[in-house]
């Protein structure tokens, strides 16, 4: 029988329609899963009441796996098949891993991402991470009493496309729909409710088991923007354990240890470190295989002293990140502490001293990322209280725009713009008397329509006939919080309007998005040249069109000589326009323009006279080409 949770007023879901969503912190050392229950974000514990799941997976000969504490306990006995810190391998090739020699694994250099030889066969980091995610999914399903709608999974802010994609693939493998990947520092900030706080710059200081990350975020209008990231991928709580371990060896005067003894002492060291967070002194005692007995007391003072250089080491990346963001300590409005290792009092002190303010630390630093992810998941699943929706931090993955003359794309909403959003731009007609406008909506980063994805087409009809460039057509793109795009075109003088609704991300898989992004980066240079050429060609067409129309209407204003020169210019420009030499086109246009200057003046006089005579210009054959006024609104 399902157990119910309390909903927000008016938001009880229909039976069997609970939208169970979780947040997952897939950490290097530890992973967690959290959810929002009756309005409260909580971490879900295992059967033994333990909130953390060590990010450790052990493969056994029969293909079975152990995950978490069980795997961790047997790590020393079966190091080769027990994978720790797999996050370091996600989306990485063998060449990306620096200290391979220190690791007990046998690597295989597969294209794209390395693989690990285990007793159960070759494993990709994606598969290993999937084991951790599957374990958390089962825990969540058991805790919430149903299948999950999906999860928000956190990733370091510096994770690139490959690492993010690998994380998504791991979730897919684990049978876990991904609602969104969220940056870890952003999740921490959300956990502290900073999204509802004053706008400004926040620093997130994350000292985990084996990694240190600093992120500088800017909050404006409920959106977190990552200004700079930095850190040290080989600095974390483990190094503090190691300092204590060395202190034990020295103080107790121990001879070189067996692997097993070393492991015992390292565990004692970690226990002492964690104990010192809450006590002034920590007892360290162990009976070694060698028969020796260790019985020591470590004080906070000594601990601070032997780890002082480690704490100082974290400050270098902090300074650099601030510098990269072009900010100083005084600009930082708040500091968020994340990661189990920030519990150490000497770390708290050092960070407080540096930023000249007390860091935020009233939430569990090892749970804060999962909590923030759970809050975000709850909102994305549509379970939030009314009025909370503005928190949606979604962005448009690829730019949206429309086709303009010559198959060029005019971007109206740029990539990474946060939604909901609305942007408008003004366009105009290309030909005299043009009464309709074709609006072709496209998505992509490339400059040419052919290289982007076509989303929709519609026509704005009933534009009153005017000279080219006189109509004012405002095209508005509106994307709502669900990513639904509505495009409206409205001609200002007449008020005629047409619109269409499209779903931009429809049918575009994340793989495709990643592929398209990569594509656009490779082609930026190409595209810029292409674009310049196309623009010249369009300008030329426009000029030719204008001159031709003038010749038809007012050809009698020219002498035979003048006419011959203009015809020659037209021929030259037409030829240039068919080629791909931009300079030639521009020169030919200059010639034609120079030779038609007088003609234009004469026509102007004539048309003024005609206008005063009150005669109507008959509607020209209209087509629907769209031109832009070059003026963004």
């Amino acid at each position: 029988m399902a157990l119910l949770q309390i909903a927000e007023p008016g938001e009880s879901s229909a039976p069997h329609q609970h939208r169970l969503a979780v947040g997952i912190d897939l950490g290097t050392t530890n992973s967690l899963v959290a959810t929002v229950r009756s309005g409260l974000a909580v971490v879900l514990s295992d059967e033994l009441g333990r909130p953390l799941l060590p990010s450790v997976v052990r493969y056994m000969p029969d293909g079975q796996t152990e995950v978490g504490y069980d795997a961790q306990t047997r790590q020393a006995l079966d190091p080769r098949n027990t994978i720790v810190s797999v996050k370091r391998f996600m989306g990485r090739g063998l060449a990306d891993i620096s200290n391979r020699e220190g690791m007990p694994y046998r690597f295989d250099d597969a294209p794209g991402m390395l693989r690990l030889h285990t007793v159960a066969g070759l494993k990709s980091p994606v598969e290993v991470s999937a084991e951790i995610l599957r374990n958390l999914r089962l825990r969540a399903e058991a805790s919430l009493g149903g299948a999950l709608l999906g999860a928000v999974i956190t990733v370091p802010a510096y994770f690139d496309d490959a690492q993010r994609q690998a994380t998504k693939d791991a979730a897919r493998l684990a049978g876990l729909p991904v609602l969104r990947l969220l940056n870890e520092p952003t999740a921490a900030a959300i956990a502290y409710g900073l999204d509802n706080a004053a706008e400004g710059v926040y620093a997130v200081y994350d000292l985990g088991g084996g990694t240190f990350d600093i992120s500088i975020l800017r909050l404006s209008r409920g959106i977190f923007e990552v200004l700079a990231t930095g850190g040290d991928s080989a600095l974390g709580g483990d190094d503090f354990d190691h300092r204590i371990f060395c202190w034990i060896l020295e103080t107790a005067g121990l001879k070189p240890l067996s692997v097993e003894d070393a492991r015992v002492l390292l565990t004692r060291a970690r226990e002492a470190k964690e104990y010192l967070t809450f006590h002034g002194v920590a007892p360290i005692s162990a009976r070694l295989d060698s028969g020796e007995i260790v019985d020591l007391t470590l004080s906070t003072e000594i601990f601070s002293e032997i780890t002082q250089t480690l704490v100082a080491k974290t400050m270098q990346p902090v300074k650099k990140a601030l510098r990269d963001a072009g900010l100083s300590v005084a600009d930082v409005k708040g500091v968020v502490m994340v990661g189990g290792a920030t519990r150490m009092p000497q770390v708290q002190r050092a960070v407080g001293d540096f930023f000249r303010q007390d860091p935020l630390n009233n939430l569990d630093p090892d749970k804060v990322v999962a909590i923030g992810a759970a809050k975000q998941a709850n909102l994305l699943a549509g379970n939030g209280a009314a009025g909370d929706d503005w928190l949606l931090l979604d962005v448009i993955p690829l730019s949206l725009g429309i086709e303009t003359m010559g198959g060029l794309v005019e971007k109206i909403i740029p990539r990474n713009a946060t939604i909901p959003t609305a942007r408008a731009q003004e366009f105009t007609t290309f030909r005299d008397g043009q009464t309709a406008l074709a609006v072709h909506v496209v998505q992509g980063e490339r400059e040419l329509v052919g290289d982007c994805r076509s989303l929709a087409r519609f026509e704005l009809r009933g534009i009153p006939p005017m000279v080219a460039g006189a109509a004012r057509v405002r095209v508005t793109f509106q994307v709502d919080a669900d990513g639904l795009l509505a495009v409206t075109a409205r001609e200002k003088t007449s008020g005629v309007e047409a619109s269409i609704v499209v779903k931009p991300s429809y049918g575009l898989s994340d793989d495709e998005i990643a592929e398209m992004l990569k594509d656009s980066l490779q082609h930026v240079r190409d595209d810029a040249l292409q674009r310049a050429l196309r623009e010249a060609q369009i300008d030329a067409e426009r000029l030719l069109e204008a001159v031709r129309a003038a010749l038809v209407g007012d050809g009698e204003l020219l002498s035979a000589d003048e006419r011959a020169r203009i015809d020659a210019d037209i021929g030259k420009l037409q030829a240039a326009t068919r080629g791909d030499n931009r300079r030639q086109i521009v020169l030919a246009m200059d010639d034609l323009e120079a030779d038609t200057k007088d003609f234009a003046a004469r026509r102007m006089d004539k048309s003024i006279r005609r206008a005063f005579a009150g005669r109507r210009i008959s509607e020209l054959d209209s087509d629907t080409t769209i031109a832009h006024t070059g003026e963004a609104t």
């Binding site: 039976p15 514990s45 058991a142």
Partner: protein, 107 residues
């Protein structure tokens, strides 16, 4: 008769209300839907409506709309833990048969 909260349930509600930072109590109700005809409504209440039927149980105010009340009269709202799962449960004497999920029922 009345609608009550078990002490455990009341404690959890009170805790959630403090964390939520607003609200005057709990709103219970029933709606037609689900595989067995009716479904429970369990929500925070921010305002009382004039025709609400009100109870107070272990310090928690319970609001019920008059249409729902006949179906809920005599109910005790309990808080239960089943393995890793935990949440609220309606112990409702009016229920003839419930669907296996416990989210919808028949009177």
């Amino acid at each position: 008769m009345a609608v009550t909260l078990s002490e455990r349930a009341a404690r959890h509600v009170a805790n959630y209300m403090v964390k939520r930072g607003k609200g005057i109590g709990l709103r219970l109700g029933v709606r037609t839907s689900g595989c067995s005809g009716m479904a429970y409504k369990l929500e925070f209440a921010d305002i009382a409506r004039p025709d609400d039927i009100e109870f107070e149980s272990h310090g928690v105010k319970v609001l019920i709309d008059p249409k729902s009340f006949p179906y809920l009269d005599g109910t005790e709202l309990d808080y239960a833990r089943e393995g890793l799962n935990e949440g609220f449960r309606f112990n409702n004497p009016n229920v003839k048969d419930a669907c296996g999920c416990g989210e919808s029922f028949n009177v």
